[in-house]
Symmetry: C2
């Protein structure tokens, strides 16, 4: 079983998961853009190459057969394992939790080369709905404190397979970046007698306008003031929403539109850049997090972090967010794929 | 001037430094291992290709000429700039500090291919002494709160030039990873009535022995319990030492021996792996940090961090430190170069 361990001194946690090193890796990027690949476990017709599906959107046809448009499977090389109870062990300076959790893959489209900007809004709506369905199902498991939905695009961003897919990891602890956001958002809420710091960001950034990429009735897309990475982009709901999974069908339609637009701009400007994105939402620990505000962070992988960043946690970024936002506002909209 | 900015919500700082993107990059690794390269600005004979030196170890010869065995120069594309006063600006959620600091390069050897395991202990002693000399000189500048000495080896680790060199960045803030260590070390000191948490790590890990790579009279080399990265290695002084720069000449001789041994093992096992290392020492802010304990952290770059790590700050590591330490104990000692 995998194991989570805390650093002797700081609140830095690590998941030890040895079988992860056995993952298959596509050695070369395919120069052409086929719509299916016979060797791809995520392509239609190859359903038997994956573990049995957890869920699929399919109008007819059998489980683990053809006919799906979004499909969710367990990760074959999971970072955490679904069976067992959560046990903490503390002995002097050594603090561990056994690696109970969930690790799933959400195949976003049957199209092997269906990159995000090339998908129609309906298909994006569909995989966002799958994010929500899987999220809601896993929140019923009281062993899990946090669920991160994320995507790695391109080998430079850590993706081992190119077929469009997202992932979800449920953890038995609340990870530190989430803890940091929760703590500071709660402090702000208490200090201001009930204001949300993310509402304040939305309001201030719309007023300042120089870091805004686009704005719709429901969402604000911006390059954050202290962007850690070149062309980092955040998508924030404009109204105060604590939980990602509580979005209505209309909200998901609006988000699909904004995601297609944002990734089309990144693609048009940076030509199919490798990137990661992830959804930050309130923990699923059944506590009251009314001061929090879910959002999406998109971080292209254009530069390498080095010893300075590893040693300090302080990032060096050559592209000011004001420049990044202006370029993204003016960008032609690409549709790689 | 560069600028440091704090994230709206969390204590994450970013240095914005636009000219960094103009750095020259060696596009290919040289397959052979020449001792000098005519195009390398760090090679003897090419001293005019760098900014004027800040310091050099040279028995005779002119400044910025031949005859040196360690040479220190300003970074041509600095992340921070040496002139000006430190000014903080706080406006609603936007918090910035102007980018005053120092960014220097320490050329470790005149030999273009003199990788760390191939250098003799005397030469390693020399560049460690240069680390100390530059460190002590910069601590006189009251604008600087922290000085990080670090090394990037290999393009995967963020090195843009292959000639062996380290770097030093002095910052007007204490970075967050250092703050985290200081805070927890102080908590431990207060809770235990005066014990150092790093002394405790040394004692416990020697007793447990399974994560120890090697031990000398003065230093312990280990793979830490919650290693974030495969084959992460720490070098800790066994006696309680707060400040790296207070090492005696004998201490530096002992450290040179331990560094040669450690990097020879990493090289013998992993065949010239890309890596970062950095020295964590107490801040140079003239405060009492008696609870702290300097050390070196070495992090090979064998895996990529992806969306999960970026989104959570929680690391996934496929290699348990007990396995890494055993393999490093048994490793043949390489000497790439």
């Amino acid at each position: 079983m995998p194991e989570l361990r805390k650093d002797y001194v700081t609140d830095t946690w690590v998941v030890f998961s040895t079988w992860r090193s056995q993952r298959p890796v596509e050695t070369k990027r395919q120069p052409s853009r086929p719509t299916t690949s016979s060797s791809c476990p995520f392509c239609p017709g190859n359903e038997q190459m994956t573990p049995p599906e957890i869920m699929a959107y399919r109008s007819d046809g059998e489980d683990n057969g053809l006919g799906w448009w979004v499909r969710c499977i367990p990760n074959k090389y999971p970072a955490l394992t679904i069976d067992g109870e959560v046990k903490r062990t503390i002995s002097q300076l050594l603090h561990s939790v056994n690696g109970v959790g969930a690790h799933e893959v959400i195949i976003e489209t049957p199209n092997h080369s269906g990159s995000l900007p090339s998908l129609d809004e309906k298909q994006i709506y569909e995989f966002i709905s799958a994010y929500r369905d899987r999220y809601v199902d896993l929140t019923r498991d009281a062993r899990f404190k946090y669920i991160l939905i994320f995507k790695n695009q391109g080998p430079e961003a850590g993706a081992s397979l190119s077929h469009p897919h997202s992932q979800l990891i449920a953890t038995p602890i609340i990870p530190r970046r989430i803890m940091d956001e929760l703590r500071e958002a709660r402090n702000f809420y208490e200090k201001t007698g009930g204001s949300c710091i993310y509402d304040e960001i939305v309001e201030d950034e719309i007023e300042a306008s120089e870091r805004v990429v686009m704005e719709t009735e429901d969402f604000l897309v911006l390059c954050p003031y202290a962007s850690r990475f070149p062309f980092e982009v955040w998508i924030l709901p404009k109204k105060h929403e604590v939980h990602f999974e509580e979005m209505s069908s209309d909200d998901r339609t609006a988000l699909a539109k904004v995601m297609k637009d944002s990734f089309s701009r990144l693609d048009g400007l940076l030509n199919d850049p490798p990137f990661n994105y992830y959804i930050h939402t309130a923990p699923c620990d059944r506590k009251d997090h009314r001061y929090y505000h879910w959002h999406i962070e998109i971080t292209p992988r254009l530069s390498k972090t080095a010893g300075f960043e590893r040693g300090t946690g302080l990032y060096i970024n050559p592209v000011p967010p004001e420049d990044a936002a202006r370029l993204l506002r003016e960008a032609p909209k690409g549709s790689a794929g």
